[in-house]
Amino acid sequence: MRITPFCLLLSALSVLLAPVASAKNVDLSTVPDRDSVQLTIYNSEDLTLVRETRKISFKPGVNPLQFSWANTLIDPTSVELRFLTSADQLDVLDTTFPHDKPQMLYWNVQSEMNGEALVEITYFTSGISWAADYLGICNAEESSMHLESFVRVTNNSGEDYDEAQVRLVVGTINLTEKIAQLAQIPVAQVEELSKEQRRELRFKAVRSLALPAGAMGGGADESADFAAPKEIIKEGLSEYFLYTVAGTESIPSGWSKRMRSFEKAAVPMKTRYRFRPAEYGDQLVRLYLMTNDEESTLGETPLPDGTVRLFRDNGRDGLSFVAAQNIRYIPIGDKIELNLGPDPEVICEWVKLKSWRSQVWMQINGADVFRRVDDNRVEIDVNSTVAGWDDHTLFTQRIRNYSSRPIEVEFRRPLPGHIVFRSPFAATTYDYQTVEYQAQVPAGEKADLRCEVIQHQGRNAKQNNVTLEPVEQL
């Protein structure tokens, strides 16, 4: 069994309260055990708030308490002592951080009582993290998904936490200093370090972390009864969400533990194909779309950042691996988009069919005079230069669907410059220089969407935007 590096020593000192530095030759110490411990773990930062309670006997007068945390990653500036019982009879007189023992502090507690009190010690530590991940198995028809969400807690803090209540914070908090940096240096020296030094300290701290083979306690109800997976209770907390794992968990240092956050048997989903170069690169990709709402049997909690691993029932009593994708925090009610990449059964081509020019304007050299080339009434001056013109290009957006299902395809095509987009099909603008249009392609068929792009060039270009111009035919 590992010896915990934490020590809380109640020192029986001489009546005269000697300076702390000379109090190291104590005759007697007691080491009160933890009664309970609670971990509140933040996933946006390397930060965990530890809240532990211990019972300590006090005698009237001044009671020195020594708290040390060798080989752990506790931020010394964050350690606090609070009295949960007999608070009106107990007071912390002072807190001392000895110069020669960086991972230690002393409290001098003034007691008006003779007896036991419950104290709470809180501190920030680094090295404990949690992350969400998801397992999705969609049915063979790709119409619904069996979705499981997990949280995985990893303890590299150097300290074993037995029977701890675990709370996980979803959201992004603000920290001015990294806890791992603060953990490595005496409290007085924090401000003196350069950024580089702090980074180096943090690096060393992580590297030097031993990963002793610890025990992985069940934490669950360890009776011989049939047990269901633990519930993870979700609640809103200001800008964050708090997940509380029911019961307690034991997470030895070096171990990680993955627990199910929720499981939904049949989340309705749709398949869409999208061409959006800014989001998915210059390719047509297939997506699974769901919504994090009640209608989709979800919506109880935001979905924290994490990796989604997608499988599909291959219809042959087995699974096919589809994709692994990181998702960002998805609020309640928001869309869930899972990008599966290109589909070899759907071919998308943007084919240039023809190109020509019109509205060619010449500028008479040395003069601010312009003449249009195709205007037969004007005399063409040999001593002139092309100053403006319109490029016309006829394209076809060709989609070939060789899959066994009809597909819906969405395009978001950026067209920079001063553009007129002429099309016989419905199109809208997504922004000032991006055109959006859709197509439905039945199984085994192809679609050709013809459009003409007119780009005003040279002096003809007056704007930098797209104008839509519906036409009957191209």
């Binding site: 610890g214 047990a227 633990k230 499988f311 042959r316 190109s355």
Partner: protein, 409 residues
């Protein structure tokens, strides 16, 4: 010499109540459930999914199922542990647990020990008994590739195309009789040994019509003799991946195609090989066989005139002339491919702008460009070439491509 063998274990550990067991206690061996069934899914282009089924005896209450591996590239993050739905119709193995007697099983959590290739599932069972579980994971170094063997008939009208899948097992893990599936085609049931490569016939396509395509394209294939303006004329076999052409079951995967031709002795002669690109349904696979030296094409720019439109704005009149001789015994169709941008760069300069062009009246190709195969810049024309005459002399066929490049500056 064989590398270190992979060790993959599924160990069921009795969970001692009330005491949190130390790490060493995980090694307490109760039973070592063997694999009942293994499937290797190769349908993803980049990764290999292995699914295995094992019968796990469980005791009522909490159980720890320890899964560990060594010297294999299992991605632990992809491990999925599922209790197979009981009472499967196809459950034929007598080793499989009786559905009616199987306990209800719940996976409570997964723990990952430090510094080990292992994980521990904490599983709760409603009763003591056996459960059939399926464990899925992505396994590295178990890869697939495709290759083809094409045997062309004597008259080069049809061919027999065999598609093979080659499975290379460098995963340091051997599999007894294992189901292997590529995402299409048949499902194979084969043992796959350590460091073994296994090649399996995916499909044999018979009577596939093959088209011999002779193509000259100065941009793509260049010149055979540039000083004499003689173009290179490669010959390709063209296969259409659709059902009308006896293919079209699935996209043809990228792979090497070895081409043979039946000979008079009832055997085959090796004609050459080429990489077949990934060919979706309805697309064509072109296999380069060699350069056709019996077809001589001389390409010259016959006319290059610039006509001022205004100021620095010009139209360019271009005629490209092709003098073609076919020294073969058979008549053939030659595809002449031209990049209009490339012609402009030859006769004028590359302005970086799209070319505005139209065909001129001196063009001789009947019917103009092939509308289906041509694009805006790449124009495809066909020239019918008669076989050489009885006196072994080839008839010289002359074709002209007349282009007017408009509004250039």
């Amino acid at each position: 010499m064989r590398g270190p063998r992979a060790a993959m274990y599924l160990v069921l550990v009795a969970f001692s109540a009330s005491v949190t067991p130390p790490a060493e206690a995980r090694i307490k061996l109760i039973t070592l459930p063997v694999r009942q069934r293994v499937e290797i899914q190769l349908d993803h282009p980049d990764v290999t999914l292995v699914e295995e089924e094992r019968v796990v005896p469980l005791i009522k209450g909490l159980n720890q199922v320890d899964f560990s591996w060594a010297n294999t590239s299992i991605d632990p993050n992809t491990l999925v542990f599922r209790v197979v739905v009981q009472g499967r119709d196809d459950a034929t193995s007598s080793d499989e647990p009786d559905a009616a007697k199987s306990p209800e099983v719940q996976v409570l959590s997964v723990s990952y020990p430090p510094g080990e290739s292992a994980l521990v599932w904490q599983v709760s069972a409603s009763e003591s008994g056996s459960a059939l579980v399926r464990i899925s994971y992505l396994l590295g170094n178990l890869t697939k590739s495709f290759n083809y063997r094409a045997v062309v008939s004597r008259d080069e009208q049809i061919l027999v195309l065999r598609q093979y899948m080659r499975l290379q097992n460098q995963a340091n893990e051997e599999f007894d009789t294992t189901s292997v599936w590529a995402g299409f085609g048949p499902q194979f049931l084969k043992p796959i040994g350590l460091n073994e490569t296994k090649e399996m016939l995916m499909h044999k396509y018979e009577g596939v019509p093959v088209q011999k395509a002779y193509t000259c394209d100065p941009t793509e294939f260049g010149y055979l003799d540039q000083a004499q303006n003689k173009l290179r004329v490669p010959m390709h076999y063209v296969l259409q991946n659709d059902k009308r052409h006896q293919l079209g079951l699935a996209p043809l995967q990228f792979g090497k195609v070895r081409i043979f031709q039946e000979d008079r002795q009832g055997s085959t002669a090796f004609l050459g090989e080429d990489w077949g690109k990934f060919t979706p349904l309805d697309d064509e696979m072109r296999l380069y066989v060699g350069t056709a030296q019996d077809i001589v094409v001389q390409r010259t720019i016959e006319k290059n005139e610039q006509h001022r439109v205004a100021g620095n704005l010009y139209n360019v009149d271009v005629v490209v002339k092709y003098e073609i001789e076919n020294f073969k015994d058979q008549a053939v169709t030659l595809d002449l491919v031209e990049s209009i941008q490339q012609i402009r760069a030859e006769v004028y300069r590359d302005t970086g702008r799209d070319v505005e062009w139209q065909l001129g009246g001196e063009t001789t190709f009947a019917g103009g460009p092939d509308a289906e195969k041509s694009t805006y810049d790449r124009q495809v024309f066909h020239a019918e070439l008669p076989a050489r005459g009885a006196d072994s002399k080839a008839q010289k066929i002359v074709h002209k491509l007349h282009l007017i490049l408009k509004n250039e500056w």
